[in-house]
Symmetry: C2
Subunit: 417 residues, 2 copies
Amino acid sequence: MPILRNIGTLATCRADGAQGDIHSIHDAALVWEEGRIVWMGPEAELPALDDARESWDAGGRLVIPGLIDCHTHLAFGGWRAGEFEQRLLGESYQDIARAGGGIAATVEATRAVSEEALSERCVDFLHAMLRLGVTTVECKSGYGLNTENELKILRAYRRVSAMQPVRLVATLLGAHVVPKEWKADRRRYVDLVIEEMIPAVAAENLAEFCDVFVEDTAFTVDEARRILGAGSAVGLKPKLHADQLAPGGGAELAAEVRAVSADHLEHASEAGLTEMARAGTVAVALPLATLYLRQSPMAARRFVDAHVPVAVATDFNPGSAPSYDMHLALLLACTFLGLTPSEALKGATVHAARAVGRERDIGSVEPGKAADFAVIDAPDVTHWMYHFRPDTCRMTVVDGTVQWEAPGLSPAGTGRC
Amino acid sequence: MPILRNIGTLATCRADGAQGDIHSIHDAALVWEEGRIVWMGPEAELPALDDARESWDAGGRLVIPGLIDCHTHLAFGGWRAGEFEQRLLGESYQDIARAGGGIAATVEATRAVSEEALSERCVDFLHAMLRLGVTTVECKSGYGLNTENELKILRAYRRVSAMQPVRLVATLLGAHVVPKEWKADRRRYVDLVIEEMIPAVAAENLAEFCDVFVEDTAFTVDEARRILGAGSAVGLKPKLHADQLAPGGGAELAAEVRAVSADHLEHASEAGLTEMARAGTVAVALPLATLYLRQSPMAARRFVDAHVPVAVATDFNPGSAPSYDMHLALLLACTFLGLTPSEALKGATVHAARAVGRERDIGSVEPGKAADFAVIDAPDVTHWMYHFRPDTCRMTVVDGTVQWEAPGLSPAGTGRC
């Protein structure tokens, strides 16, 4: 029965209460067994336990639930660094897309890459994310845009799940944009997603969610409704990219189809917000996209005030958010969105778990949940966001196993007793 | 004669040309001897050299001049994480200062810390900065605000210079704010800075620069003019914190007194900008303060267009910029200020060297200059900014000596041949 002692602040991130209520325990200890948390509380109240346990010392540091990055486009070919510079020089994301750059460029690069090569690249990214305290990653397809290549990406995710410790949750995003070969006949592409792609993904059980990018440059609300309906019919739960670049009725649709989450929402309408609150849909904020696209942030406070759970994720992708740095995403959730550090953290843990339908299993440090947690070199959550620097994560545990432990960077010394 | 081979892109950052002209050499090599660069160019043109040299392999990566953080408040007691949260909840920096928080809180904490303890803290920060590729740091006093404590901070910097490899450039900022004991008689505090503090600092040769915070909550233009004049008279070159929170004539004063740099400038007037261009004053952009204070960014493009050299620094301090992450500052220089990656990099190297009066010695990779450089795990400067992640710096060399080399995080493997 391994135990982690000397935890300065244990941010349990239990779901109940307000967005900012992370239910911290000070001077805490944490006990787990066979991958599950069995006890946490003040160290002074630690029950008598079998003595033959492995013991770790958090060095008075902060311990948080393993971070859940609930929105990424993890598998892609190539990069698009040039577009970053083009945008700085004044071109818009939409202009670049219309000129054949953007998602279309990544689709071309991704189609050219083998399942094996895609998998290896994902493993590299995931190892780096693990070192940031991330233990679960939602990962979308969407750079294949034909059945063969969408399946290739989702099969890569299945393969990657067995190659490294981070837990993956796969989402079919066949409806990311209309690929160029169907531009002249978009209805047939929607039919292809519905009649060929979704059944094939369901037959191989390759995804849990079906997502659609509802946007001027992508799919209409009506198209999305059809696609998500077809997904639901075979057990793929709905998610939505909604109202990122312009208001488009995405939030309203998310509520209508009872989507698990609606993501982006920079331009969500007040009505959409109200309906999301009623439907219990999680709002996923993606502040790295706000940073990289230099756009207005999502109005997180309005969602919080309306009792919509707000999650925070990276949106990691080679165009609008080419960073998997969850710590930076959390800092920006504070400075761009106006969330407090505790609100942001709850967004990257228990609310993110809900956004991937796993709130019973992960997202908080509670008895019975998976022993996923990270030791952070900060005294508390506020300090962690405030004093931004690399290498704050000292140890990451997934399913009870230490999967990352920092080399001796800090004299304070976390680690084995 | 050590040599670094297999450099994918060598961004030499020579001073001539436009802000964005970093004079890159591809497939390059770099040779140094006794702490000075003796040759750099395409590896194919490498001259015959003594064979008994130490050889390093950059693995096709990017090599940049050692980063120069030309504006920090490195030595301080305590932290102010609580204010970060207060600001997120709607309080302004100025409101917090008026209520006894802000700089005054750090002054109290800093006065309570010994020179030894301050020094040790600085050494920890500098080791972390070194791992980010930073080789020179400008460091201000300004949390002592009486002669005894201002000297303590500057003596700590002198001590720290001998304790670790990062090159320090010290600045007296006795005129940071009026300390509370002189609030009722600010003129006497200005006199104290002029008549006691400046002479004492000059007598011990503890600083190269004299800086004043010109702002509603700090010092007037007239007070700053007197203080900088007194500093100049004893060889302390002028610098200015100007027009950060509101327009206040700071840029104009910087030009008038031929300040080496004027820093912040978020609210600089058009006239101030024109006068700075004429005077040759460097504009130091501090985008982490923009991030943390959630304010409008400095209009860097206007300065670049007016041929004012723009430098980029962290402003590291416990209030408005509690991060020493130069990589993040550079990313924000792109996304907030609209600089291109090359423009931002030139701002953190050769223009930053000019902002600390060291442009003859450091800031670019050129024969005769100090062998200060960093190996960055990216193919080029644009990619480095675009794909933000921790741990991109693989090796940092100061004065020809490898002072930091990353552990084997990346399979690509930089390092000794």
